[in-house]
């Protein structure tokens, strides 16, 4: 059996392994880091440490986090040697799926989708967050652009 957390970014619902989710917080203020890539644009403060923000909207082609913007929920995930924060628009309680319920990807076309299943009358992709983060850190995922915190004009 596999426990998965449903989460929504924009209009897309996806599923993440509950095993790696350490905590689900509300909206968290994040600080953009200059030069950071879109997939990992900044940090939040969590339990006395700064942890990277991972923006799943970036690889999915959804509206990315911009400076000053937050999402209503923040998933804290343990991924390999890292703890990361994943801001999402909504998160629901853990659902448990049997192996038979998890099918090969056929309908959803999200990057890093490892499987699909049905929940809430929708087909949802199970996202391999560890692989995504590993590729960010290894520099393998496509460069979607550096976080453009410098390109703004505001009153002094």
């Amino acid at each position: 059996m596999r426990a998965l957390v449903p989460a929504r970014i924009g209009q897309a619902w996806l599923l993440l392994d509950a095993e790696i989710i350490r905590e689900i917080l509300g909206s968290e203020t994040w600080l953009p880091i200059p030069g950071a890539r879109a997939e990992m644009p900044g940090v939040i403060a969590w339990r006395g440490r700064a942890i990277p923000v991972v923006d799943l909207a970036a690889p999915f082609g959804f509206e990315r986090l911009v400076s000053g913007e937050t999402r209503p929920r923040t998933l804290i995930a343990a991924v390999a040697d890292s703890i990361v924060a994943v801001p999402v628009d909504a998160a629901r309680e853990v659902h448990v799926f049997s192996p038979a319920e998890l099918k090969p990807v056929a309908v959803t076309h999200l990057p890093y989708a490892a499987a699909e299943t049905e929940l809430f009358e929708r087909i949802m992709a199970v996202i391999d967050l560890p692989r995504f983060v590993a590729e960010i850190l290894g520099g393998a995922s496509p460069e979607l652009g550096r976080e453009g915190v410098g390109s703004h004009a505001v009153g002094g």
């Binding site: 600080l31 880091i33 200059p34 890539r37 940090v43 403060a45 942890i51 960010i136 004009a153 002094g156």
Partner: protein
């Protein structure tokens, strides 16, 4: 939940520079002086925002010359924005995660203000090295001839 501050730990004084949407800081112990740009005989060519990989979009932000002092070395850099001193408890200075170290090599910490990450804390040592590396001929270190 964070543990209570150890009263024996002295807070760190930071010089914060607010440049529009970007706020960054440097330990004030590394700052020898802050001068108006107009008072500088030879204005520095190195802008900290540029060294951070950022562009200054708002030309109305007040420019100043920040002279950094590290041991016998001094280097002058250009900063823009409003300046303020901030006292930060040790537990509010969070090291930049290693995952982002390469993205922002001059940033060593993030300062938490009001429970939220608010300031990029630039390492004076790294800034000095970057300033010297960027323009060693134009901005030579000024070695103190008189020890304090």
């Amino acid at each position: 939940m964070q543990s209570a501050a150890d009263p024996r730990r002295a807070p760190t004084s930071l010089l914060a520079i607010h440049a529009g949407e970007i706020s960054w800081a440097i330990p004030s112990a590394a700052v020898a002086s802050v001068q108006p740009l107009s008072a500088s005989a030879s204005p520095p060519r190195l802008d900290v925002l540029a060294l951070l990989g950022l562009r200054l979009e708002d030309a109305s932000l007040t420019p100043r010359v920040l002279v950094l002092r590290l041991g016998d070395d001094r280097v002058a850099v250009l900063v823009h924005g409003t300046l303020a001193l901030a006292e930060t408890a040790e537990q509010d200075l969070l090291p930049l995660p290693i995952e982002l170290a390469e993205s922002a090599p001059l940033v060593s910490h993030v300062a938490v203000v009001g429970g939220r990450p608010a300031l990029l804390v630039v390492s004076p040592e790294r800034l000095l090295r970057a300033a010297l590396a960027a323009s060693p001929a134009n901005v030579p270190p000024i070695r103190d001839s008189v020890s304090r």
